[in-house]
Amino acid sequence: MRQKKKVSTMQTNGHYDILIATISGTLLFLLLVSFTVVLLMINRKKKLDHKMEKQRMKTDFEKQLLQSQLEIQEQSFSHISREIHDNVGQVLSLVTMQLNILEHSDQLNRPVLEEAQASLNKSIVDLRDIAKGLSTDRITRFNLQENLAGEVSRLQRGTHLLVEFQADGKERPLGPEKTLILFRIIQECLQNIIKHARARTLFLVCKYGESDLQILIQDDGRGFDVSDAVGKSEGLGLSNISNRAAMIGGKLMIESTMQKGTKIHILVPYV
């Protein structure tokens, strides 16, 4: 009887061991499964956040691109309007006067006629240039060097600045969107120099490196405190420039010394 009870107790103990082992094993599986599901959820959330961030960056880029295109278009229109008013309009008025002289003179005044012809030819050439400027694919065929050279000559004509433009290395394409945004960055830097720097000379370098395009804009103006300008609301222009540079994968560095001038370096990778 005692023997039988002992066997039964041993059996019960064995069953308890199996019970505990089974429960432990099941709990272990449960833990592993729960861990995997939680990990999946975290991973999913990360991917979702990443996707949203990418989408946001894409939207920002498109917005900036559109803004740059509009700004350049607006500039082109005002340039054309100026050209028509100051150039073609003036020359054509002169031609009218010359034709009036010819109308009222008894003899053929050849020098006046030749002048009138030359003026008309100039007007035709100017109008062709303007028509080129109005072409819709001008923005998509945007050439950085040509436009920078144009910008420099515009500055030389319209300001007292002594501007020097230098392009080094073999030109490499950046892509129309990147080029447009970069051009707007440079334009904004130049505008800042005209408005605030009180500089006499301006040096613009465009260097095509191995892996990136390097732009240097240097002036001999009064300079400014970079950290102070970034911190203040006036610095919004700087942060805007910096954001635009980041948007095309570029870097913007500003060095400025009071009463000595400012150097702006822009690095934009080709890829």
């Binding site: 019960t12 069953h15 019970l19 599986f29 449960l30 499964v33 990990l39 991973n43 999913r44």
Partner: protein, 235 residues
């Protein structure tokens, strides 16, 4: 554990199948393909599940359970069939099906369909379901998009249901006959594990059906709204 509590948990586990069964039946026409497959599993699963309550005939019960095992596998094969993106996983999937068919023939030849409940067969099923689920999850981790599984998709609830049920009841199914032979031992408490996971399985299926029906309702509303909008423009 107190026998009454054990009995309640057992009853909850058995009758919890009625939840997805009835809900699926009510919204049968609105269910997606995945949900219809799961509803098919639930419907056929309810036969052995409820049969156990109303008959003591071992032979009938054994046949019902043993027929359900390959049927469930076949239905899950249809459910998982188009869910793998990578070629390797699709190849593994096909290989597991071939191995399963071979093993099943061997099992049926060796044990027969009526002699006893073939717990080994269920264990094989559970291992394969776990492997398939892990393969789907691994694809989710490695995929760039990684957006296929989310709380709103019924498929997420179905694979999560099996992902919890299959590995967590594996040990229990492997000890099935040993536990049955010792009904008065402490081992009898082990059924609670099965009952809890069984209830979870059917609750997850129910959530999947609800998500499916609600999702379809939202999609229909959006579709109607866009059609109305288009009509306004046409008018």
């Amino acid at each position: 554990m107190h026998p009454d509590i054990r009995g309640i948990i057992n009853d909850i586990s058995i009758y919890s199948i009625l939840l997805p069964l009835l809900l699926g039946f009510i919204f049968l026409k609105k269910l997606s393909r995945d949900s219809l497959i799961v509803w098919g599993i639930v419907t056929l699963g309810s036969i052995p599940e409820l049969l156990g309550q109303f008959t003591t005939d071992t032979l009938t019960r054994n046949i019902a359970y043993n027929l359900y095992t390959p049927f469930e596998f076949a239905m899950l094969w249809v459910l998982y069939r188009d869910k793998f993106r990578s070629r390797l996983n699709r190849r593994i999937f096909r290989t597991t099906v071939r191995i399963y068919i071979g093993l099943s023939l061997l099992i049926v030849w060796y044990f027969g369909m009526a002699a006893r409940f073939i717990n080994e067969w269920v264990c094989v099923n559970n291992i394969i379901y776990t492997a398939w689920t892990l393969m789907v999850l691994a694809e989710e981790f490695s995929s760039e998009e990684g957006m296929r599984l989310n709380f709103q998709l019924p498929f997420f609830w179905y694979i999560t249901a099996y992902f919890f049920y299959a590995p967590c009841t594996l040990l229990l199914y492997s000890l099935w006959h040993f536990i049955k032979q010792n009904p008065d031992s402490p081992l009898d408490n082990i059924w609670i594990i099965h009952n809890v996971f069984n209830t979870c399985l059917y609750v997850f299926f129910t959530v999947g059906f609800v998500k499916d029906v609600l999702g379809r309702k939202l999609r229909d509303e959006a579709k109607k709204e866009s059609l109305d909008h288009a009509n306004e423009w046409t008018l």
